[in-house]
């Protein structure tokens, strides 16, 4: 969880806490450091503290405790307008009484830049977001996607090294969101800027980021690259929050050779990989991704434990089959199989046996 402070850290949070009312901590002991050029996403349910962290970095909220450093220097006592951090707001926050060009000129005028240099930078920034022809329009004459492009151009026009984005695509429709996701990541990598991106949309987080910090209850639950986050969740919150997930509850019966034997509440025994359970007798919640559930037992280890299952529902989804099973007393167990010629199409009521590779079944905290 704690990444410690490394010498090449560009943005650092060290033991940061935040409380609005002096009693409840919204952010509890945050430690985070990211190198220059990284695209980091803060992901979490609402109220998890992710937006508060972003606001502290931008300077709109002050940390109750701890230190925030930018490029090695503490920024705790620097007001927002002197931090030189770009930001894209959820509702765009374009100045409605100014044209697009004037909006982009604003940060440059503040920096007392000459007219010709200003014009040049504005034109370049608008071209970057493919809005070159819209310089003289007013924000109210633009669509949501266009406004967000302008907001992005405005955050980049003064060439900040760090850009913050607070759910910038939240108000847009799915198609526009996807194309802008791609554009933003492409732009960020091309310009070499460091981005801290806040979202509650996990697909967005997984597709855009170099690393994702999953927030819950004021803490980072896991900080990892997207693939690791999905395949190796470190605790049951992350397993539940990212992607689809089957959970079974039980007690650790044996830990041996790096694997655990878990006795489920219904009495069945399964193999699992102990992740954050240490001792025998501890309660655990095991997590298996639907696509890692195997009904063709020949593919498993001959001594692997298997479970009986009853098919409840079989849904044909084109490229995949989605089967809802009754397993160990729960009827919401999902198995996802690829549509292949040898893959049987199951019928409701059919009795099968399922299993999995022990390393795909993660024994997590209960």
């Amino acid at each position: 969880m704690a990444q410690g402070s490394s010498t090449d850290a560009f943005v650092e949070f060290e033991r940061v806490q935040k409380s609005y009312d002096g009693e409840n901590l919204v952010v509890k002991d945050l430690n985070l450091s990211l190198p220059k050029g990284e695209f980091l996403t803060m992901l979490g349910p609402s109220g998890s503290g992710k937006t508060t962290c972003l606001m502290m970095l931008a300077g709109f909220e002050t940390a109750t405790h701890g230190e925030i450093r930018l490029d090695g220097k503490s920024i705790n006592n620097i007001p927002p307008h002197k931090r030189g951090i770009g930001m894209v707001f959820q509702n765009y926050a374009l100045f409605p009484h100014m044209t697009v060009g004037e909006n982009l000129a604003f940060p440059l005028e503040v920096r007392k830049m000459g007219r010709s240099e200003r014009e040049q930078k504005i034109a370049r920034a608008l071209d970057m977001v493919q809005m070159g022809d819209f310089k003289n329009r007013r924000p109210t004459q633009l669509s949501g996607g266009q406004q967000q492009r302008i907001a992005l151009a405005r955050a980049l026009v003064f060439e900040p090294e760090l850009v913050l984005m607070d759910e910038p695509l939240g108000a847009l429709d799915k198609q526009l969101r996807e194309s802008l996701q791609f554009e933003i990541t492409e732009l960020a990598h091309r310009l070499g800027i460091t981005v801290v991106y806040v979202t509650h949309d996990q697909t967005e987080a997984l597709t855009m980021s170099d690393r994702v910090a999953v927030f819950d209850d004021g803490r980072i639950q896991q900080l990892a690259p997207p693939d690791e986050l999905y395949e190796k969740p470190q605790n049951s919150f992350v397993a539940q929050f990212i992607g689809e997930n089957n959970t079974l509850e039980g007690v650790v019966e044996k830990i041996e050779g790096g694997f655990a034997l878990v006795r489920l509440d219904g009495g069945e025994v399964i193999d699992a990989l102990p992740v954050n359970v240490q001792e025998v007798g501890q309660r655990t919640r095991v997590s298996i991704r639907p696509e890692r559930v195997e009904s063709n037992l020949e593919r498993l280890h001959p001594e692997a434990h298997t479970l009986p299952a009853v098919v409840q529902e079989f849904i044909y989804m084109g490229d995949t089959f989605r089967t809802r099973l009754k397993v160990a007393g729960r009827d919401d167990f999902i198995m996802k199989t690829r549509n292949a010629p040898d893959q049987p199409r199951l019928k409701p009521g059919q009795e099968i046996r399922i299993g999995w590779l022990a390393e795909d079944c993660r024994a997590l905290d209960a």
Partner: protein, 284 residues
């Protein structure tokens, strides 16, 4: 007004027409006393009635003599200039203080917000005569009674509630993330205020200012208490003029005041439409 639907009952039809009649009567009673003053102010005689010549629309019956009196006689010119010296300064104070108060009170973390707001707005609610009497005693103590600045401050206090109310109303629609965006882009608080917040709440500030100006320009009770002969304002002169020397010049003065009010109200409406267009609420 919507047309009567075909299924309306007799009662509804009667009410429909009665409603129109009531509306017409209300407008008549509001506007007629004001309109009748305007032609009378062009009376060639020193009467408050329409002369037979006027009714015949004979040019002989009309003249600008009351306007000449108004603009030539020091009895009217001194109060007019007094009013013009007091109202703009009082308005400036009302606008500056009222706008700042409204912005401050719209911040969510200010303690006792409602109590402070109620106190600042009280001059609008408390009967004027009570405010006036209170100001008289208070200003006498601190040496402001009967001074120019005493009247200016008293009028500013009366104007502040209007500014607070109109600015607060515009601030409701003001997106706070705009000030954050400005700060993020490098603008300090002062620049943010004048370049981002002020232009967007300007319609509220201006209409509050107009109300404050009209309040000061029309005010007679407070100035009678707080002012002295040196601060005799136009309404004061009209008030005494009515009792002491009944001259139709007062009609010319009234017409001038009405014209000023109408111009101000039209300005207000134009500004309101402009701001709506800027916010994209109506196509423009």
């Amino acid at each position: 007004m919507a047309a009567l639907p075909p299924y309306a009952s007799t009662g509804q039809k009667i009410w429909h027409y009665a409603y129109r009649a009531i509306c017409a009567a209300i407008f008549f009673f509001l506007i007629a006393p004001i309109l009748v003053i305007i032609p009378l102010s062009f009376n060639a005689e020193n009467f408050f009635t329409f002369t037979p010549e006027m009714l015949r629309l004979d040019p002989e019956g009309y003249s600008l003599k009351h306007y000449r009196d108004f603009f030539g006689n020091p009895d009217w010119q001194v109060p007019l200039w007094n009013s013009l010296k007091i109202a703009p300064v009082a308005t400036f104070l009302s606008v500056a203080l009222g706008t700042l108060a409204a912005i401050g009170l719209s911040q969510p973390h200010v303690p006792f917000r409602r109590a402070i707001m109620a106190t600042l707005i009280s001059p609008m609610i408390v009967p004027l005569i009570i405010s006036a009497a209170g100001m008289y005693f208070f200003y006498s103590r601190i040496g402001l009674q009967g001074t120019y600045w005493g009247v200016v401050l008293a009028h500013a206090a009366l104007g502040i509630p209007f500014v607070i109310i109109t600015v607060t109303a515009t601030l409701v629609g003001f997106d706070r993330s705009l000030t954050r965006a400005a700060a993020n882009l490098g603008a300090g608080p002062v620049r943010t205020f004048f370049k981002v917040q002020m232009p967007l709440i300007l319609p509220g500030v201006v209409s509050g200012g107009l109300f404050a100006f009209i309040t000061s320009f029309d005010e007679v009770v407070v100035v009678l208490f707080v002012g002295s002969a040196g601060q005799k304002t136009l309404p004061w002169q009209m008030f005494t003029g009515l009792r002491e020397q009944i001259s139709p010049t007062i009609l010319a003065a009234a017409t001038v005041l009405i014209s000023i009010s109408v111009v101000l109200l039209v300005t207000l409406e134009v500004l309101r439409r402009r701001s709506e267009r800027l916010r994209g609420m109506s196509p423009g």
